[in-house]
């Protein structure tokens, strides 16, 4: 049925060390989240197996180092009189090789010229064309002291409903330094981005309509997420569920007695309350991304640090 002579041994399979290497890397990554011991163990495993792998792969290439004989050369005047010095012909570089190389090189260059801008256009606008319009939430009187107000607004009115966002705004009165203080939380859950809801009754009768925004007072001292049960207290600190940091906040400014929303930033945690809260502030990042603790090492650079 079968004839062994009709087959030649196929090329040998890859080395098995990469498996150990992969386990090491996995331990290292897990260890970063779980414990130092596991991370160190993982690092040791990865290095050990990595070296073994490299040794295995380069086995055929390395071999023994050949002994180099001392250089010898026949000097011209030592030649026997009348003998003609011998030259080896120089290796020629044939025309066909040159054409082949230029064809490949030129085609590659032309291909790059064509595709790189196209790929750039696919990727870059997501990072470079982020225009943050300022949002005007109207006169400060709209925000009674110590009470949360749900503010929904269009971030980019030209784009329409798809840019509707929600913030929870609380007027904290004056800070110790005598400046006006606001707590402005973003409604995006920092677990995976669902719309967080205030846990309390909304006062529909005191609804205020602005040009591109609407304000709705609500009696709430905590916020809950419908998706996976994340819970936050009145300062946006996580009290239950899977979220990995405190609710994102906005910077704000006050212009002509009107509250203007600024940019978003991420919050590690908040201690204290209201005007006296101490907030650990970080560049804004995707929900689910740790901003403090060891886990934050997994996200050394986030887009908002580069694009501002």
């Amino acid at each position: 049925m079968s004839n062994p002579r009709h087959d030649t041994p196929h090329s040998s399979g890859p080395s098995l060390w990469p498996i150990g290497f992969a386990i090491g890397v996995a331990c290292l990554l897990l260890g970063l989240v779980l414990s130092w011991m596991i991370a160190v163990l993982g690092a040791v495993l990865a290095i050990a197996f990595g070296l073994l792998w490299a040794r295995d792969v380069t086995r055929d290439v390395r071999g023994d180092v050949p002994e180099i004989a001392p250089e010898t050369r026949v000097v011209a005047d030592e030649l026997a009189p009348g003998a003609v010095p011998q030259h080896k012909p120089l290796p020629a570089y044939p025309r066909s090789k040159f054409l082949e190389a230029s064809l490949i090189g030129l085609t590659g260059a032309m291909g790059a010229v064509l595709t790189l801008p196209v790929l750039g256009f696919m990727v870059l606008p997501s990072f470079t064309n982020i225009d943050e319009d300022e949002v005007d939430l109207g006169p400060l009187d709209n925000f009674p002291e110590g009470e949360y107000v749900i503010a929904t607004y269009l971030k980019d009115p030209a784009q329409g409903e798809v840019t509707r966002r929600t913030a929870f705004v609380r007027n904290n009165g004056q800070s110790e330094a005598g400046d006006p203080s606001f707590t402005i939380l973003y409604s995006r859950c920092v677990h995976l981005g669902c719309p967080v809801q205030p846990n309390g009754p909304i006062d529909e009768e005191r609804r205020i309509e602005l040009k591109n925004a609407a304000l709705l007072p609500v009696l709430a001292q905590s916020f809950g997420c419908p998706c996976h049960g994340g819970l936050y207290d009145a300062e946006g600190n996580r009290t239950a569920g899977p979220p990995v940091r405190s609710l994102d906040r906005y910077t704000f400014s006050i212009r002509n007695g009107r509250l203007i929303l600024g940019e978003l930033f991420a919050v590690g945690s908040v201690s204290g309350t209201g005007a006296n809260a101490r907030i650990s502030r970080y560049p804004w990042s995707t929900p689910g991304v740790h901003v403090d603790g060891v886990e934050a090492w997994l996200y050394p650079i986030v887009p908002s640090q580069v694009t501002g």
Partner: protein, 262 residues
């Protein structure tokens, strides 16, 4: 003396075989088709080995129904939902084609996994079919991405928030995660450009990639043939001389195991 052909045979020759020959002489299409379809398969192939072809049919159904849905769907944040409603409730047979595409998506993914399970249980991923497995893994990944990108298109609350969660899940991947998430949503969050980007991925880039991968996958199926089932009593294929492994694998192969299934 050669037997004279009957009149019937002459007609067949003239009407069918001659044109086919004409084409084959110029393109090799007939020989190619024979190479692709008239293959030898093991005597005891199993029904489970039809799952790959079933996956192919599911994918082709998706391409056809998808291309026709695209004639009525509007990938714009302000009209996508209405256009889906219009397809489902107003247009003749729209409900049917949309239903085929929506349920077919699940059928496709289920068949993908069943086919992969069959290949795994049959050990069909082994030498010389490793690259078939690898193209298969890429097909699985692109196939799942089809599901991910398609789910957003109805642009209703489920679609929107499921996609928010999906994008942010990608965002939690170490190092590149937040960058990937920002690319997927065309900005820090889903905005005006997201839907069209996902539509382009769903109906142009990903299906194109899948077609190319299926081409390679099926070329390999044709070139290498299919394995016989693990319970097969017959020795399949040629014997593989056992070259003594060296290096880290030294000693991994037992002597005296030459040959196929006994």
């Amino acid at each position: 003396m050669a037997k004279r052909k009957t009149r019937r045979q002459q007609i067949v020759d003239l009407a069918v075989l001659a044109p086919l020959d004409w084409i084959d002489e110029r393109t090799g299409a007939v020989r190619g088709t024979k190479w692709f379809l008239f293959r030898n398969v093991p005597r005891d192939v199993s029904w489970a080995q039809t799952l790959g072809f079933a996956t192919l049919i599911a994918f082709l159904t998706q391409t056809l129904t998808g291309a026709i849905l695209a004639m009525y769907y509007k990938p714009d944040p302000n009209s996508a939902y209405e256009s889906i409603e219009h397809i489902t409730n107003d247009l003749t047979l729209g409900w049917l084609v949309r239903g085929m595409h929506r349920w077919g998506a699940s059928v496709f993914v289920i068949l993908l996994f069943l086919h992969m399970g069959r290949v795994f249980l049959f050990g069909a991923y082994k030498y010389p079919r490793e690259l078939q497995w690898i193209t298969g893994v890429l097909l699985l990944a692109t196939g799942m991405l089809m599901g991910f990108t398609g789910y957003l298109l109805p642009w209703d609350q489920t679609a929107y928030w499921a996609t928010v969660v999906g994008i942010n899940l990608n965002g939690t991947a170490p190092f590149a995660g937040p960058w990937l998430a920002q690319f997927l949503s065309s900005g820090p969050e889903i905005g005006g450009d997201t839907l069209a980007k996902w539509y382009a991925l769903h109906m142009l880039l990903l299906p194109g990639a899948i077609f190319a991968l299926i081409g390679v996958h099926l070329y390999l199926v044709t070139r290498l043939g299919v394995v016989s089932p693990p319970w097969s009593k017959e020795q399949a294929g040629r014997e593989r001389p056992v070259a003594e492994p060296t290096g880290a694998r030294a000693g991994l192969v037992r002597r005296g195991t030459e040959g196929g299934a006994k």
